[in-house]
Amino acid sequence: MTSVTRSGSVQGAGGGVLSPARLGQLLRRPEAGSLLGLLAVFVFFVVAAGQIFVSPAGFASWLNVAAEIGIVALPVGLLMIAGELDLSIGSVIPASSLTVAIISGHYGLPEALGIAAALTVGLAVGFVNGFIVNRSGVPSLIVTIGTMFAVMGLTLGLSVLLTGSTSTSVVPAPFYKAILGQFVGGMFQITIVWWAGFILVAGYLLHVSPVGNWIYALGGDRKSARNAGIPTDRLTIGLFMLSGLAAAFVGVGQAMVYQSAQVAGGQSFIFNSIMCVVIGGVLLTGGFGSVPGIVLGTITFAMVNQGIYFTGFDPNLGSVIIGALLLLAVLMNDTFRAMALSYATRKTPGGPKP
């Protein structure tokens, strides 16, 4: 099986000749449930919404949403596989958005400086999260709720102090607008390309590099991982910094797209990213999951989120579908995980039984 090489490739998960043996192996992978979920959701909206859903505009609609959430969901997923949660992303996004808007918009300094400062904000919040989690032993859920509120308050206070307002506009130079805030073909956000880049990096980290083994071990059992010689403290801080960086990146992108930044906003990313990750087959308590799964979960989430507008249904029902989908996904993922655990070697007829 070529699970390692095809990480990050959405099509790869379903490609090739599906002999029964290969199908069996496929069903035992962490992303099996989310692949089936995605297919079901796709078919549902093609039937319910019709031609428009499969038009370029239809694709752009959910791809744009998926790309923004997806960039955050990937590192959040890695953290979750390592047994940690990060809620602080919800305030890092507006904080970094405002940082770039204040530096490059309000003060008119170069965009490169504003962007670098915004990304540094994300890295710094991530470092603080990881540091406190390591030192205090307090669950990361609590620690990152704390930093989320702290960052939110700081953002509001500093924004009012520096600009006298809770929102700031920024007009990026054409180069930065092109690489961070452009709409390709008038509808596809350039963020989609960046998302692809983040998928490759996360896929490499988790499935190809030895660090991936450390992440799984950390999520499986922290103490044993440390006894095995894994630098668990450094790894934890690094993963939190990665999610801080990704959240800051999304914040910068938003500032470039909308050409303004507000103190509020970003909170929806907290639960949405966690939902994408869980729909993608990552175990909430850590130790199990995959990057293709997270990507599939993100696409599924975005499709439901946007697809409802293409149908004749009341858009308010979208949340009902997402809620039901989440429950269904967790139930299904439990089943597939049980199958993965019971997977004994096949093919040899009359062969060994456990």
Binding site: S209, W214, Y216, A217, A225, N227, G229, S342, A344, P354
Partner: protein, 272 residues
């Protein structure tokens, strides 16, 4: 005269005012199985953790190859080749055999500037190592640890320790949670490790299992060494009586033994 691989001289351990281990002297040679017997709360776990560098002895000394040593943390003991395998073997049920075998010491290939976890080598090495211990049913390194039987997990954990150069293997109740057949697999693996010249410390409260593989026996009662004898010097009944605290009532011994042996029936009913 060669030195024992590991030797304890007059080791005591107290936690505050509580004496958990009292004046323990023990040695284990290469290619020898030392069985450490004792009821729950006798201090077996504390003794293991002292050997594995988790606790430091309050008084007394530890020698390895005749040389006095001091473990400041578990890694020091691991670096000297002291490996502990716990009751449930693998601690990463959702990791594959190959991945968990190499946790922390991943085999790596280079691809340009990228470091690549060599999954194929990891799987092959892990499967080969465990098959050499006679567990031929494990033939796919992609299987998850959680899907293995208790005995297979023990075998894998022992094979891993030996593969990474363990000289002293501490097995903490490896057969306690296993059925009769699985337990006999594990006992065979203990003998295989012994044959390879590894010093094995086998902790158990199942006298039958101890007698099947032990060369040397030590019985702990309330933190003190109640008996220290070689294979064949004491009968099974005598050992059981010792573990029960020396109450040599034959019927009490028999009752305790029947409760301690593995069985498939319901737990004994309390007397009405």
């Amino acid at each position: 005269m060669t030195h024992p691989v590991l030797e304890l001289r007059n080791v005591s351990k107290s936690f505050g005012p509580i004496d958990v281990l009292h004046d323990i002297s023990l040695k284990v040679n290469a290619g020898e199985v030392l069985c450490l017997l004792g009821d729950n709360g006798a201090g077996k776990s504390t003794l293991i953790m002292t050997l594995a560098g988790v606790h430091k002895p309050t008084t007394g000394e530890i020698f390895m190859d005749g040389e006095g040593i001091r473990f400041d943390r578990p890694k020091d003991a691991a670096d000297r080749g002291i490996a502990t395998v716990h009751q449930f073997g693998g601690t990463f049920p959702l990791m594959s055999i190959g991945r968990s075998f190499f946790v922390g010491v991943e085999p790596v290939r280079k691809f340009g500037p990228l470091r690549i976890f060599d999954r194929k080598t990891a799987n092959q090495t892990a499967v080969k190592a465990v098959q050499e211990f006679g567990i031929t049913r494990i033939d796919d390194g992609d299987r998850l640890i959680g899907g293995l039987s208790g005995g297979e997990r023990q075998a894998l954990a022992i094979a891993r320790a030996v593969h990474f150069g363990a000289r002293v293997l501490i097995l903490d109740e490896p057969t306690a949670a296993l059925g009769v057949k699985q337990a006999s697999h594990v006992l065979r693996i203990v003998l295989e490790a012994k044959k390879r010249g590894i010093a094995v410390i086998f902790i158990t409260h199942q006298v039958t299992h101890a007698m099947a593989v032990g060369d040397h026996f030590a019985v702990l009662i309330r933190g003190a060494l109640a008996a220290n004898f070689m294979r064949g010097e004491k009968s099974r009944e005598e050992i059981t009586d010792l573990m029960a605290g020396g109450e040599a009532l034959a019927d009490l011994g028999a009752e305790i033994e029947s409760r301690m042996g593995p069985h498939d029936g319901p737990p004994p009913q309390p007397a009405a």
